[in-house]
Amino acid sequence: MRAVTRPLGLVCLLLASSPTLAEYQLNLEPGVTITSQNAYDIHQIVMWICVVIGIVVYGVMTYSILTHTKARGHKPATFDDNLTVEILWTVIPVLILIGMAIPATSALLAMEDVSDSDMSIKVTGYQWKWHYDYVGEDVSFFSNMNTPMEQIKNLEAKGENYLLEVDNKIVVPVDQKIRFLFTSNDVIHAWWVPAFGVKKDAIPGYINESWARIDEPGIYRGQCAELCGANHGFMPIVVEAKSEEDYLAWLGEKKTAQAAAAESGNKVWTMDELMAHGETAYNTSCAACHQVGGEGLPNVFPGIKGSAIATGDVAKHIDVVVNGVAGTGMQAFGAQLNDADLAAIITYERNAWGNNAGDMVQPSEIKAAR
């Protein structure tokens, strides 16, 4: 251990004058659920057992390195076997392992028991965002990272929650057993909030379960933990835990807002409205691949700026956006966005960045094309 920590300690000393020393988080956080606290406890137990074994093993070895040397004229012994110690160092580890297995088993059984939950939230992974569906509540929405591209590209100062902030966070009540159901629309993702001790893969064709009962109100942040493509590092999770009343108030507001959004698909929009809404919706749902300027990424994601689809037949353009393109990364956005969003995005794509197709698409046309 000493050989390991010595160089590290040196470097740490060198950096000790840095004012950001408080940022050096060394250990797991205990978190705010019984699952995360169990994980923390078992982590501490096993880690300290390893440290003690390490001190003994490395201590013996270091003693031998320092004293049993040719330089000190130590004459080598000739033994090469000793049944007693060999039995001892097989049996003692077995006992230590049994000692670890008992608390580990009870913690695992507790964390895998999803029965008697108070509410359920279905979490669906998409490249590269999360979709949340409050089961039985008629509330569902996408949650995208909203750290500005300028911060990522180092053009402006990074905010406090750089890469760990979203446009729509999920809100949950404290002190209720929340069951999470995980699945995916495309590749495998993993939903992880360290403070809850919940990490579960979201797998296409599967529904996984996990649960959390949050002790304290607060905002908790996490990230996708399974490599899911180019923007794997940019699909964070933000959960706000509130009291029961605050949660219900939020749920009511969310329902009203979603009803209003659905209604927006029935009116006729002006070009300016479509372009304004289209820019926002495009930047949220499309820019991760096609880029804010519509130029795409060469050989990975095609550009929209000047593309045949965005400047050609409208029906084809609508088809591509609504139904996706099989066998490519282009998803079927018809299942993800409402008529107004889709109409605005398509209109925006046809008229931004010098595409100037001049036409606009109304939500009613999307409805007809579905």
Binding site: P7, Y58, W89, A104
Partner: protein, 529 residues
């Protein structure tokens, strides 16, 4: 003895020029090619790692795009596993096994030639995809070295098919190499060398070869399923077609976990050869070493799903894989205790091979501790897919497997070349490598526990400091390897003549041969008492 061998040497039908290497059936020439191939790949894979660490030096995207970052991590992993550690061990086996068991050569010399020459073809295909990516002609494999479906199938770039054929070739190469090792050990041992008298390096490679034969076909199977999923309309791993993406992970890790031991068992053999030599004392617990190696190999087949605790297995499955994984700590512990007991009351000296071997024991044990922590399922839900895992397997594979290879090269290089290497430079290489490896990998434990996922090109601000330290360590580590290259070249070209025995405490048939060892090691078998 020396004169006789020299005379014989002149009558070798040793081709000259490029033909000597292209058509070689000689275990030493093929061993050298394997080792140089691994060394070259080490620098290529290392360059990719330095790009990764440069991008992660501070938050924000500075050097590469996220898409290219994924290609870097994927190719770094594939190259280091299949292009460095595995070929280097095969190279060491080629050089050492015939000399250690008193044979003239490997049992199947032509197959030996073919198994080597498949490797440049395999890595040519793989690296071609990277070159094309840099030239802007498409993406290289970008789904991680574990290539989980459907990211690698439905969503894989066109170059995935290059990757699949590359893996097929590597697999064929490895299986042929393994058959050769087994045939050699079973048939060409010197009279009197019973199995329980074989040097421990021979034993560990014997067991490793069985692991290779058992699991490389599984890897070939899984990439073939990918190939048909991608090109011939099957749905092995596509949920939409009735397939199962989780089955991919089960099949992959059924290969993958034994693969981990393929990359560490020969290392155990190397350390078990070096420690007694420089302790001037016989290896402690030879037979328990053999049994421990065999137990680890057996257990490696029944622990695979500990890589998959978060996929949503039944709790009974999670418990089984947690318990079976915990068992591995026992034979692994036995090995560490045996090495320490070998050093105990010896007369230690600290030449470069011994320094690397001691660092191996210290640091591999670190990786063993974190491995034990990772197998505890309820805690693994927090560790899984974080930098804690990255730290763990780099301790095992870099300060474990790669250190053992460096130790082996310093240990046997005088036997191979007939010259001593430069001890001062060797020690300089050791200290720089050992210290920088810890500066590089130790902070990864901390960022992992603090919540940084692996395989991300950019990270939240609280991870910045430790990432910066790790990147500094990475660059020192990377450039220190140029010293290693220089020491090896210098030793090949000349230097103080090595004695036949090379090391004062050396034992084994290879040290009865002259230095450099003759082209056809033992033309008449020695008799082992």
């Amino acid at each position: 003895m020396n004169a006789v061998v020299e005379e014989h040497h002149d009558h070798d039908h040793k081709p000259t020029g490029i033909g000597r290497w292209l058509f070689s059936t000689n275990h030493k020439d093929i061993g050298s090619m394997y080792l140089w191939f691994a060394f070259t790949m080490f620098f290529i894979g290392g360059a990719l790692a330095l790009l990764i660490r440069a991008e992660l030096f501070q938050p924000g995207m500075q050097i590469v795009e996220p898409e290219f970052f994924n290609q870097l991590t994927t190719l770094h992993g594939l190259i280091m596993v299949f292009g460095v550690i595995m070929p280097a061990f095969v190279g060491l086996a080629n050089w050492q096994l015939p000399m250690m068991i008193g044979a003239p050569d490997m049992a199947l010399p032509r197959m030996n030639n073919w198994s080597f020459w498949l490797l440049p073809a395999a890595f040519g295909l793989l690296l071609a995809s990277l070159v094309m990516s840099i030239m802007g002609l498409g993406s290289a494999p970008n789904f991680g070295w574990t290539f989980y479906a459907p990211l690698s199938t439905t969503y894989g770039p066109d170059s995935t098919d290059y990757f699949i054929f590359s893996v097929h070739l590597m697999g064929i190469s490895s299986v042929m190499g393994a058959i050769n090792v087994i045939a050699t050990i079973m048939n060409l041992r010197a009279p009197g060398m019973t199995y329980m008298k074989m040097p421990i390096f021979v034993w560990t490679w014997f067991i490793t070869a069985y692991l290779l034969i058992a699991v490389m076909p599984v890897l070939a199977g899984v990439v073939t399923m990918m190939l048909t999923d991608r090109n011939f309309g099957t749905s092995f791993f596509d949920a939409a077609g009735g397939g199962d993406p989780v089955m991919f992970q089960h099949v992959f890790w059924f290969f993958g976990h034994p693969e981990v031991y393929i990359m560490i068992l020969p290392a155990f053999g190397i350390v078990s050869s070096i420690v007694p030599t420089f302790s001037r004392k016989p290896l402690f617990g030879y037979s328990s070493m053999v049994y421990a190696t065999a137990s680890i190999a057996f257990l490696s087949f029944i622990v695979w799903a500990h890589h998959m605790f978060t996929v949503g297995m039944p709790v009974a499955g999670e418990l089984f894989f947690m318990y079976s994984t915990m068992l591995i700590a026992i034979p692994t512990g036995v090995k560490v205790f045996n090495w320490i007991s070998t050093m105990w009351r010896g007369a230690l000296t600290f030449e470069t091979p011994m320094l690397f071997a001691i660092a191996f024991i210290f640091l591999f044990t670190m990786g063993g501790f974190t491995g034990l922590m990772l197998c505890i399922a309820p805690a693994d839900f927090q560790y899984h897919d974080t930098y804690f895992v990255v730290a763990h397997f780099h301790y095992v594979l870099v300060t474990g497997a790669a250190f053992s290879i460096m130790a082996a090269v310093y240990f046997w290089l005088p036997k191979w070349t007939g010259n001593m290497y430069d001890e001062k430079l060797g020690k300089l290489h050791f200290w720089l490598t050992c210290i920088s490896a810890n500066v590089l990998f130790f902070p990864m434990h901390f960022v992992g526990l603090a919540g940084m996922p692996r395989r991300i090109p950019d990270y939240a601000l609280q991870f910045a400091e430790f990432n910066q330290i790790a990147s500094v360590g990475a660059f020192v580590f990377g450039f220190s390897q140029l010293i290693f290259l220089y020491v090896v070249i210098k030793c090949v070209r000349g230097g103080e003549k090595a004695t036949d025995k090379v090391w004062e405490g050396a034992h084994g048939l290879e040290f009865d041969l002259p230095s450099p060892a003759p082209f056809h090691s033992y033309t008449t078998p020695p008799v082992v008492k």
